[in-house]
């Protein structure tokens, strides 16, 4: 597609990269069909092609972002379904990430929008704050009915209260920096991204990961200094906090790579995995040593299911006769193109695996999207749950805490894929399945 940047504009490396992405797009429109917001809203402006055009126009003009553009870019889930569909290989992720940063730098949001984003950016990546906030939300839950029924702010607050779980598990000591030694002879050594929000919402995921890997002879390091991957800030266009978070992880993991050595950096929250795999790109214009180190980390970043396929997984007990509806998280299927590994592992574990119709469509979780765009998010949640129920499955398995939180509270229990794999290979039965299977 034609672009109209001046030579001066193209000297900015951010614009130069955006220009490359735009030049790859041939405006064929295939992406519109698989975009969740276009399917729901039926407006070119809420499709990837429309957003690409809005972004192109905004960047070419060099003027500050305006409400019209922000509205449509904000509605993008960053599910990246468009990237799976695109025949031309347009890197929409890099374009929309750049646009979000540009918006954050040039556009003044209404006060309540700024405040909410600041709070989310502050709280979610910090487990202690998050724990305190969820406790507060629990206390506020009974009063949700007092909020007005319309208006952006009340709707968002309702969404926040709905998403807050009714009870919180205690923090797990496994998530603190340490070396989890393998059982038996050591076959490999990996770093685990313990994560931030996930350690508060569902520490059982990391526990299952550590148990299974150590049983398979893998030493699992929770590196000192590593924390949030930076994705939450990154997707809100908050460039500096995102880079700071990423830098801390890169430093921590490079120290491990140069010390005890690492075969992989393992991520069991696919939203984070997509970002860690993109560190190399995010740091491409930083000082060469940081760019190199970021690229080294991205090169060994792997989803837990990719790694299990590589090292081999064998169940040790017969699976109960359960059908698992596999919910493909967008960050895993579109962001990382990991599609077969989770399903084939679940089948190896002995489960019957069902795939819902419209599996390519997002469940509406999308990081902070379900708190910032509650209306679209709840429509997508209902549509996803409908498709999952139609499979006739007994439970849902997913590889991303965001989707798990979004789909929770329904009659179908939701567990992480790794919990099922661990269970069938000697681990405990996931607590959420207690009513489904009596041990």
């Amino acid at each position: 597609m034609q672009t109209h940047f001046t030579a001066e504009q193209l000297r900015d490396p951010g614009i130069a990269s955006a220009n490359q992405v735009l030049r790859t797009c041939v405006h064929c429109g295939f992406c519109t069909a698989t975009c969740p917001t276009f399917v729901l809203l039926g407006d070119e402006l809420d499709s990837p092609r429309g957003r690409i055009y809005l972004i192109k126009d905004m960047l070419e003009s060099g003027r500050p972002a305006t409400e019209e553009v922000v509205r449509h870019v904000d509605r993008c889930l960053s599910c990246l379904s468009c990237m799976t569909t695109c025949p031309s290989g347009v890197n929409y992720m890099h374009l929309v990430d750049h646009a979000r940063t540009y918006i954050e730098q040039t556009y003044q949001r209404p006060w309540h929008d700024r405040a909410l984003r600041a709070v989310l950016g502050l709280v979610l990546p910090r487990p202690a704050l998050m724990r305190a906030a969820l406790l507060g939300a629990r206390l506020a839950k009974p009063f949700a009915g007092l909020l007005p029924k319309t208006g952006q702010l009340p709707l968002r607050l309702r969404a926040l209260l709905r998403l807050a779980p009714a009870s919180l598990p205690p923090a797990s000591h496994l998530d603190r920096p340490q070396d989890h030694k393998p059982v038996g002879p050591r076959r490999g050594r990996v770093a685990l991204l313990a994560g931030c929000a996930q350690t508060v919402l569902d520490p059982a995921i990391n526990a299952a990961t550590v148990r299974l890997l150590t049983r398979l002879g893998i030493e699992v390091v929770v590196a000192k200094g590593a924390g949030c991957c930076g994705a939450l800030a990154h997707h809100m266009g908050k460039h500096d906090p995102a880079m700071d978070a990423a830098r801390a992880n890169i430093a921590a993991w490079c120290a491990e790579m140069d010390g005890g050595g690492l075969d992989a950096v393992i991520i069991n929250t696919s939203g984070c995995g997509t970002t860690v795999k993109d560190y190399g790109y995010m740091f491409r214009n930083e000082a060469p040593d940081w760019a190199d180190r970021a690229a080294r980390v991205s090169a060994i970043a792997m989803d837990i299911t990719e790694y299990l396929v590589r090292i081999g997984y064998t169940p040790t007990r017969a699976a109960p006769p359960l059908t698992v509806a596999y919910h493909a998280a967008c960050s895993l299927q579109h962001g990382q193109k990991v599609t077969d590994a989770p399903k084939s592992l679940l089948r190896q574990a002995g489960f019957k695996v069902a795939e819902p119709a419209e599996g390519h469509l997002c469940c509406g979780s999308a990081g902070t999207y379900n708190m910032l765009q509650p209306e679209i998010s709840s429509q997508l949640r209902a549509r996803k749950l409908g498709n999952l129920h139609a499979t006739g499955a007994d439970l849902i398995a997913a590889g991303n805490i965001g989707c798990m939180t979004q789909l929770a509270g329904d009659t179908l229990p939701v567990v992480h894929t790794i919990e099922l794999l661990d269970w069938m290979a000697g681990g405990p039965q996931p607590e959420r399945l207690a009513t489904l299977v009596t041990a």
Binding site: M1, Q2, T3, R23, T24, C25, V26, H27, C28, G29, F30, C31, T32, A33, T34, F38, V39, L41, G42, D43, E44, L45, R49, G50, Y53, L54, D57, T66, E68, V69, H72, T85, C86, P87, S88, G89, V90
Partner: protein, 477 residues
Amino acid sequence: MIEQPEPKTDVLAKRDAIVAGLRHLLPASGVIAEPLRLKPYETDGLSAYRQVPLAVVLPETTEQVAAVMAFCHAQGVRVVPRGAGTSLSGGALPMADAVVLGLMRMNRILDIDYADRCAVVQAGVTNIGITQAVAQRQFFYAPDPSSQLACMIGGNVNMNSGGAHCLRYGVTANNLLGLKIVTVEGEILDIGGAYLDAAGYDWLGLLTGSEGQLAIVTEVTVRILRSPEGARAMLAAFTSNEIAGACVDSIIASGIIPVALEFMDRPAIHACEAFAHAGYPLDAEAMLIIEVEGSTAEQDDLLARIRDICAQHAPISLEVAKTAEQSLAIWKGRKGAFGAVGRISPDYLCMDGTIPTSQLPAVLRRIGEMSASYGLQVANIFHAGDGNLHPLIMFDANSAESFHKAEAFGADILRLCVEVGGCLTGEHGVGVEKRDLMGVQFTEIELDQQRRVKSAFDPGWLLNANKVFPLTAALRA
């Protein structure tokens, strides 16, 4: 930039009143009028041509479409209908004084009748959406344009779209039973229905392929067919475009009609393989995708006969898809071919001429020669079985010179198609792209007669007036 009809100054002058009037007829989100938000509607799948419209409306019901049309008719406002905006001939290119009427929100399946094998759907349902809705019962909707994932049935009707499998099943016109239309005055009419022939004139035939110039299509009744027992695709690789073209002609001349017979040349093979990982032969200069269907015995028999014919053209390789996954990947590559060319060139013009299959070798050779003399690369991807060419001319839209050369090269290809006994358009429609070449195909007398048909439906030339016909003095003034 293509010449546009002169905007009506009176319409431009009352822009605000027109927008206010439209806002009375539709929900708030259904009217777009802010300059920044109009910009993405300035073009469609042919992004070389652009024009920001006066406004965009997104109705959700036939009644809303009728209200918009009645209003625009009363105000003398031009209307440009738009489906998914995937047209490669600029069928949805706006005019400065026109309202773009987008049908994307009308995306519901209204009725499926398996006993009588038909489905009633709104105009904004995607082509593949129809097949997806009936696939569980082993039915499908046959015409399958490459953009079938995104393009909408209303647009298919207006362009009489084809697709790879039309060699066997016919184009849109052969798979339609009825339409609900809104006239330029805003009246709602039903044409045809769930039966095979209509009484009186063949209005369905006239409206199909009328490029949004006669009426707005809001609902479509299509035929659905039982899915075949099975299908298999074969890849045949050759050392030159001409040899592959001659092989196509031999297959068709032998009396065999495969369900699909598709051609791709070297640049196309490489671009599509990078996207679809289908195992295309990267050492070939040209490749045919030949698909047969039916029972296993029928498939085996046809494949054996086709294999014998191919063998007479010294193929590099002949390979039948081994798994259902490989078949899917083969078609994913072919269907994504135009977009995949975006991997090797920032821009392309996609031609759509049709020629007698016996002329394939000669025409492919001429296109190769023109490519060399214009200094622009071409990727050839097309429905070879019915002689429907899609040469993709690669150029750089950031260079005006490159674009003008591409336009001239494209016009030369289409003139060549007419010269060898073919025609300007196979399935993409005339749109704006081939508008000014209509004189190559038709005499002025013929064109005037066609214009009178449009005038009978739309005396004021309000519907999609910038397309299909070279601009008359009346539109220029």
